[in-house]
Symmetry: none
Subunit: 539 residues, 2 copies
């Protein structure tokens, strides 16, 4: 016997209140379609009338299986629900459901609205009744419910009863300022149900201000609530809302939820969760949070040597769920904490097979440790690690050597008196006994200078003779720099991410007190790795 | 009547297992000092013998009020504790406390160790007894305790009892794979205490694989555990450990913890929490997580219009705690009024007084916003912010202008066939109508090249004519680089920290697609700020 639990997504409304986030209407359409494919029950699209983007979105909202929902607030005092223009803008969006936020905390009725408590009850009643009369599904978001319940439990409960009596499908306990802890959420939710609000009419809406939004949501579900509100990747006001990206796998994969609750997300859709999470970050132009539960790139990365060796014997030893179930993957990064079995697994992933007793394993480990001590970081630069291992295993091809390079950056005024900078690089390489000299400036399509690293890359990539066709589709996609150590021993570590036309992406590292030198080392590694990977024969 | 709750920080050990994190020994020293000032009870510094960095750290560990703790594992089967070289490396670090991880899950004893269950008990007993015989405080990390308890509660409990009987001060329930949910943590912790393990000998160690690490930790405390393990900013293996940065404010500020538990962190230290969190990100060269509970830049940012207007009437309407208590601040992104009062406060801090109605305030706000949009970050570069404000307020001196510069980096073999690099910079400045040309190489005392930024600094600093004496005692102490934006709009942001002989330290920022250009902008700002601060008269 399973209970149905309803998922209400507010990425497009509360998620849009994340600092620095501003969706366009077309981005909202794409996100709504992803949410619908995932299998949420409600998609809260925004507040029609509050800003042009939200109005545009509802005008062009996609047809979804999920119930499209407009957000607004209960009618204001001193006018009827029918004559409240703010409410009219919300209902005019024509959605199947409307969710109205209203007060349940006497302090807020006094401070923010400045009206008698009974008038607030009438605003709730009349607003919900108006939605029902229009044939809409009505939801009531009980703002600051937990603080309201602490001040005056009778009044807070009366607000919920009023909304239900007026025909609301759901009343939702909102911890608006995010300050309530899970144990208290459970207690209050149980008290609300004991007070006559059925669990299958009751929802929960939590924020992460104490780092407990997911736990508070689960606590309410444990207590009997059957509707949860959250956002993808935990976007939202201040510290964000409860993350549906974390909650959905827990509800589908873990007890007691797996056996006792049913949600609208299928196992197939769950396997697309990581992709959806990353796509949302792409839309926002944010680097995905590596440590995100279930979907982060580090969520199944086993760095500790002890863990990694056990994982190789049996993944269940250190993984609470199979990463494939959420569309993620296991990673065993290379670092100076790694042991030999970890190392062999990492090499085997790269197509390099080494016997268990090969003495090169110990040499490679020592080399990795020594180089990480000097500032290298191989767990973020797998390609450089592979080159180091191949060299030590005598499996490295001798493609080319760099005899010298020179890079110049000049800043001056041009003929028009405008400040410009120009970067120029000269690289001399030897390939199969032949010396090749190449020069390049760094300028993008609009003639803007892109700096010395770009100039070096252009000079290197411009003419690598017999290897040219192999690297033609390669480009640099990211560049990260940090100073390691300190004082006089300071070295600069550069990590470069490269990509090619086949969708491959790889990372290399260089270290030197000279940032240009460190970058050049990483660049050369990037090219060498690509030649090896494509099995290009040395000239 | 309050119970003492002990804080055990493992940023330097489990935190170092974060993918992409590799502390240097000197960074570990700085972090240990921050943790000690914060008031944690234990600082787990690493695993001596497991890698060179950890060994170096313990060799040079700072004197702390907190108990410095070395991490290791229980002795291996088939040898005595006295003759286990891995354990010897741990005890040889000479710390006051040693924490040993050991198995409590029969599945792991079979799969990972391949030894009889009784042998594992003997490993625990003998290892703990060995530490006690050496006069050390012994802690036992019960790996996979919750999974072990699910398989065989008697065996799991026997492991804990064995460690306590052998003299362990603490036994710690570790949810090593992070898969246990808060409700289950509470149940099992209660059962363990009912099974005879006193709460004041019992700790908890959680990971964030379901987004519940903080809640699981609180659940164990609610059940009676009196020792919690976690990390700053929630660093750690996979999704990270329980974040002490989130837990400490909750324990100090919120009920029931505030009235019933005592921890070693004072209110004064709590007010430094945001600074510590940001400094750790600086050391890691990571962008701070804006949405982090309590310490994130968005944690008290009120973007929703409804919230922001209520906040202006009374902050308690939408804030669960006062941001000043954790050293953070309220941000109202859309409110120009709040922005202006913030700005005036910041200028006044710098000794720049501006009237409440000065129209320059709005211009400065717009300029800061536009420049931050373009990649500048004035939060971390107060000196550059002051220069920008002074320029806009017409309070800037015209010290010198840079006509042009050129920097060259060359890498080649020297006469002895050794690879060397040489950086050279030429800078042309105009001072009081006079043109001055300066050239410098970048070489340290041992003749090693330090790169183009250093060369530019040397050329600039070498001959600034009338200002020379004012900048003679100035030097560069740190240099941080980040790529902002993405794709073709990518720009490089450089932040430079400078210091002088009077112990002053200041930070400046430069942004450009060209890293050398960005660095040069920050260098010039650094010099200008120093001249202003020392009230040097323009030539």
């Amino acid at each position: 016997m399973t209970d149905r639990l309803y998922l209400y997504d507010t990425t497009l409304r509360d998620g849009q209140q994340t600092q620095g986030v501003q969706f366009s209407a077309s981005e909202k359409v794409e996100i709504a379609e992803m949410l619908d494919a995932l299998g949420v029950d409600y998609i809260e699209g925004g507040w029609p009338g509050a800003n042009p983007t939200d109005s545009d979105f509802f005008a062009a909202a996609p047809k979804t299986r999920a119930t499209m929902t407009a957000f607004g607030m209960t009618k204001r005092a001193g006018r009827s629900a029918e004559n409240d223009d703010v409410l009219a803008a919300v209902t005019n969006a024509g959605t199947g459901a409307v969710c109205l936020v209203g007060k349940t905390h006497p302090f807020h009725v006094r401070e923010a609205l400045g009206i008698p408590l009974d008038d607030n009850l009438e605003n709730i009643r009349a607003s919900v009744a108006h939605l029902v009369a229009l044939g809409r599904e009505a939801l009531f978001d009980a703002e600051h419910f937990f603080d309201g319940y602490a001040e005056d439990p009778d009044y807070a409960l009366t607000c919920l009863r009023t909304a239900l009596a007026a025909g609301a499908r759901w009343v939702v306990l909102c911890d608006t300022n995010g300050g309530t802890l899970p144990k208290r959420v459970a207690e209050v939710t149980r008290a609300v149900i004991a007070g006559g609000i059925p669990g299958d009419r009751l929802g929960i809406h939590c924020h992460d201000d104490t780092g407990n939004a997911v736990a508070c949501t689960l606590a309410a579900v444990d207590a009997g609530a059957r509707h949860i509100q959250g956002t993808l990747n935990g976007l939202g006001e201040r510290c964000g809302n409860a993350s549906l990206t974390s909650l959905i796998p827990t509800l589908l994969l873990k007890e007691p939820y797996r056996s006792t609750l049913a949600i609208g997300v299928s196992s197939e859709a769950l396997a697309g969760l990581t992709r959806i999470s990353r796509r949302l970050d792409e839309i926002l132009n944010r680097a995905p949070l590596r440590s995100a539960p279930y979907v982060g790139t580090s969520a199944f990365a086993h760095k500790a040597g002890l863990h990694a060796s056990a994982i190789l014997k049996n993944p269940a030893t250190y993984e609470h769920v199979d990463p494939a179930l959420v569309g993620n993957e296991r990673i065993i990064p290379m670092s100076n904490q790694a042991g030999q079995s970890n190392l062999r697994a990492r090499l085997s992933d790269a197509g390099i097979d080494v016997g268990r007793d090969d003495p090169a394993l110990a040499r490679i480990l020592d080399l990795v440790k020594a180089r990480e001590d000097a500032g290298y970081a191989y767990d973020g630069a797998q390609a450089s690690f592979e080159l180091l291992a191949r060299t030590e295993l005598d499996q490295m091809q001798d493609y080319f050597s760099v005899e010298r390079y020179r890079v110049t950056v000049e800043r001056r005024k041009n003929a028009l008196g405008k400040r410009i900078s120009v970067s120029e690089a000269v690289v001399v390489v030897e390939i199969g006994g032949q010396r090749m000299l190449s020069v390049s400036e760094s300028v993008d399509a609009e003639g803007h200078d892109q700096g010395p690293v770009n100039a070096l890359w252009r000079a290197l990539a411009k003419d690598l003779g017999p290897y040219q066709s192999a690297i033609d589709d390669m480009h640099l996609v990211d560049f990260r720099v940090r100073i390691t150590g300190g004082g006089t021993e300071a070295a600069t570590r550069v990590i470069i991410d490269s990509a090619d036309g086949h969708g491959h992406r790889w990372s290399t590292v260089g270290v030197s007190p000279n940032i240009v030198d460190a970058s050049f080392e990483a660049l050369v590694d990037a090219i060498r790795w690509k030649l090896i990977r494509d099995k290009v024969a040395p000239a």
